[in-house]
């Protein structure tokens, strides 16, 4: 039982990271229906940005976090403007390939500039831990979880309750109709990228601190898993992304704990396939049947 609870904590903290990346994924996918393969790489850029700031400028956690968010947000917007905007009306596959191209550029440009060697962070957050009964929890795990939950709530508020959020939803349904309402579609999409990418930046910084190891290809696998998390929760749904991320984190950890760690990645894909077959719209997604 102790082991189980400890594993649950492990799973939750891993899942929080997936959730944080998935939040951005789900927003971007929601608005332009693009699997933004570069999203994972923006997360990587966030980690590198904070690395440079803390290592070479000696700034602390909060400034590093904020600067990384801004940096990633701006990069996200630039990518959208340069690479995706011309393809708004192209086929999905074309857009997907472009996203893959962008992802290559980010990964390998970082590798070229920063080297492929792993990098480590200076100590930014306390690595203290406390015991909750028999379970050990580190303060960093608490920070990650709390930050993720707060960001999810903020995001949900923005999307559901603010004007910009409504504009985002309108654009995601019908761009031209949104334009006729006086919505600035380009601005709305850019805003979505800004928000989503900034979240990825947060994830990057937290991962950098928590695991103390970053490298130029670190975005690939978590990026993919975060997307799966978003699909699992119902793409476009913010609480869905959160639940999906946590679920996948826990599932992975439990497979390691009670099965074999060899198959922890396989389980993620199996979950994905099962959910797609059983409930294609995802856990919280709306089941929209095509009207004939």
């Amino acid at each position: 039982m102790t082991a189980f609870l400890q594993q649950l904590v492990n799973g939750l903290s891993l899942g929080s990271i997936y959730a944080l990346i998935a939040l951005g994924y789900t927003m971007v996918y929601g608005i332009i229906k693009l699997i933004n393969f570069a999203h994972g790489d923006i997360y990587m850029l966030g980690a590198y940005c904070a690395f440079l700031i803390t290592t070479y400028c000696g700034l602390g956690f909060i400034p590093a976090l904020l600067i990384s968010m801004v940096f990633c947000g701006v990069v996200g917007v630039l990518i959208e403007r340069i690479a995706y905007k011309p393809l708004r009306h192209a086929t999905r596959i074309t857009a997907l390939i472009t996203a893959i191209g962008v992802s290559y550029v980010l990964e390998y440009a970082t590798q070229y500039i920063m080297g492929s060697e792993v990098r480590t962070y200076p100590k930014l957050l306390t690595s203290a831990s406390f015991h909750l009964g028999p379970v050990t929890i580190t303060m960093q795990q608490v920070y990650i979880f709390v930050i993720t939950v707060i960001l999810m709530i903020v995001l949900q508020f923005i999307v559901q309750k603010t004007k910009m959020g409504r504009a985002m939803r309108a654009v995601s349904v019908d761009e031209d109709a949104a334009r006729l309402m006086g919505i600035d579609v380009d601005k709305t999409i850019s805003f979505t990228f800004l928000l989503g990418s900034a979240l990825a930046g947060v994830a990057g910084v937290l991962v950098g601190i928590y695991y103390n190891s970053i490298n130029p290809l670190m975005g690939m696998t978590p990026g993919l898993k975060a997307f799966i998390a978003a699909v699992f929760g119902g793409i476009g749904s913010i609480p869905g992304a959160m639940i999906g991320g946590l679920f996948i984190g826990i599932a992975e950890t439990m497979v390691t704990a009670y099965g074999s760690s060899l198959y922890k990645d396989a389980i993620v894909y199996i979950i994905l396939i099962l959910i797609l077959i059983l409930k294609p719209a995802g856990l919280l997604g709306k089941n929209v049947r095509e009207k004939v």
């Binding site: 894909y269 994905l272 077959i277």
Partner: protein, 318 residues
Amino acid sequence: MRKELLNKANFAWLLLSVVSFVVLTILMKVGIIGSYYSITLYNIFINIILAVSLNLVIGVCGQFSLGHAGFMCIGAYCAGIMVKMMPNMTGLVIGVLIGFVLSTIVALIVSIPTLRLKGDYLAIATLGFAEIVRILVQNMEITNGAAGLNGIPKLTTFPLLFVCAVISILVVCNFTHSAPGRACLSIREDEIASEAMGINTTKYKVIAFVIGALLASLAGALFACNFYVIKPDQFTFNKSIDILVMVVFGGMGSMTSSVLAAVAIGIINVVLANFSEIRMIIYGLALVGIMIFKPTGILGTKELSFKKLFDKRKEKSA
């Protein structure tokens, strides 16, 4: 030979294949295409099979699959294992056949549940399946796990490769230009309407998927017997993406484009090889650039057709 097959267009195709085969063989024999470039050439032919078969699934049938590397992996390992036990042509043939059986089974297991999904969801599900295949291969005894198989005899010869590529193209083209092929095209266009026209959409999607899987597994077998070594990490989803890039780069739905794209990307790789660290950056930029400026691929849906060519000439002279 049946008389339907004896027409000018088919003859032109035959001529084109024979001429290109002879020319390439001579170029390699006299060393104008050196060993490095012939590796590239071999690679191009393997990629042609992969691109054409994926184009059947994506371009013709409209099913966005990102799992092609999984089938290639199955084919490669079946052939690799077989050929290591029996290092000759018979071994290869048996290996290919086992690969066919296995990839058909896997394709059926994958496709029947997942082909109900659409677009990106299907892509992610197939990607997941391919990754599961790879993880299994990585953890099995017979595949030698993560270390992969080495010392695979090089049995892939140019004539063999050429014939396989031609057969693959023929299979896909013949399929496309037939009633089952039309059924697949109609599924791509509008699945609901297609079903309303009396087409068992699941059946035809599965057929297209299985043919695609068979050809990918053939390509895998030829790949295994060409490079001495195969490892599970050669069949990650990056490989699927490489194949996808060829299909889209050329133009979806057009086999001519797939062939040309395989050639073009082969050549681009040779050129980029000189840029080592920055080649992937250039490759990424090129992908973005091409998609922005020519989103339909180099040829779009245009198809080289001798039949049309001759028909046009006939019309003109008439």
